[in-house]
Symmetry: C2
Subunit: 185 residues, 2 copies
Amino acid sequence: MDKQKDILNAALKLFTEFGFHGTPTSKIAQEAGVANGTLFHYFKTKDELIVALYVDIKKRLGFCVSKDIQAEDSIKETARKYYIAALHWGIDNETEFRYIQQFLSSPYVSMIPAELVEQSLAMINMIKEGIKQKLIKVTPAEYVMSIISSHLYGVNQYINSQKLSTTKQKQLINESFELVWKMIT
Amino acid sequence: MDKQKDILNAALKLFTEFGFHGTPTSKIAQEAGVANGTLFHYFKTKDELIVALYVDIKKRLGFCVSKDIQAEDSIKETARKYYIAALHWGIDNETEFRYIQQFLSSPYVSMIPAELVEQSLAMINMIKEGIKQKLIKVTPAEYVMSIISSHLYGVNQYINSQKLSTTKQKQLINESFELVWKMIT
DNA sequence: ACATTTGTGGAGTGATTAGTCAATCATAAA
DNA sequence: TTTATGATTGACTAATCACTCCACAAATGT
């Protein structure tokens, strides 16, 4: 009964299928089962909806990847948990994952609110700690972060394009972390 | 004096800056210094222009990465040449690179003409040969290809985001290839 | 010299779109 | 019961957009 959620869901579905360009707000409202005006009651402009959807997805992803992290975990264990949680999330939320990509390579990136940038700071700090402990040999931390993120992205895309069995997926996910870890240490 | 080229250049600039949605064909014509009708003389629809621009860029990239490859090169040498050429191209053609990303994560991907798909076959075959020779330990070839591509993408993005000196860039590029190579062998 | 094709311009058009607005409805506090 | 508040509606509009049309110019062939 939450119309705002309905609108976000409809927007996600249509934007990923037809692009920002190809989906009029009227279609989003229709898909969500609300009136045209209701959409603009919750989101002042179409742009605001586009950005709000990104923020919403990013928050859910952020929550999911950080929920299992424990303070006493080693650097490697922390890294593995982040990595594997993100990969699982990407597989279980293929559309959301595609939306993130689509958004990040669109001009809307520049509209990301400052509050959201802080989130990835935890991971950068973890990498910096790894470098300080001479565990991670590749520097600087931002470079490592960039490599890991894109690797994650590549593996995710591969898993989603091939429709592997759950067993194969699990195996690939674990192996792929070891691959990256070997590369940076 | 080649108006078709002018239109493609203008489209590249505006699409990457304002997105497909945010750039009307009229603005593209204006930026290119041609009349509205001229644009539609060369490209039947806006969609055709969007795809044609992708094909044009991809062809230029394809030419650039394969021009130095020699038949007698070893697998590793071939791989290095591909990798480094692509990276250099990405740095020298930042806008084109961004357009490729933008295009690939948009619904227009499905409009890529069949002729273009063949191009990446050469690289897949090289990887398959590497696997056959037991040089490359990670399988299947498509997975390796996915990993390398996304790594390339990540490094490129990092280099373009930080504005490194040319010396640092060269160093990073060479190191990054060894990093990937170590990972898959 | 003429005919034919090809390129170019830019005003014009019908359709579409983001966003508005005045009016209703639901709920609950006073 | 009254009043107030916010959610919800959908017809409406001003603007924009992709694309057409046709006149004319330049190049090309005969």
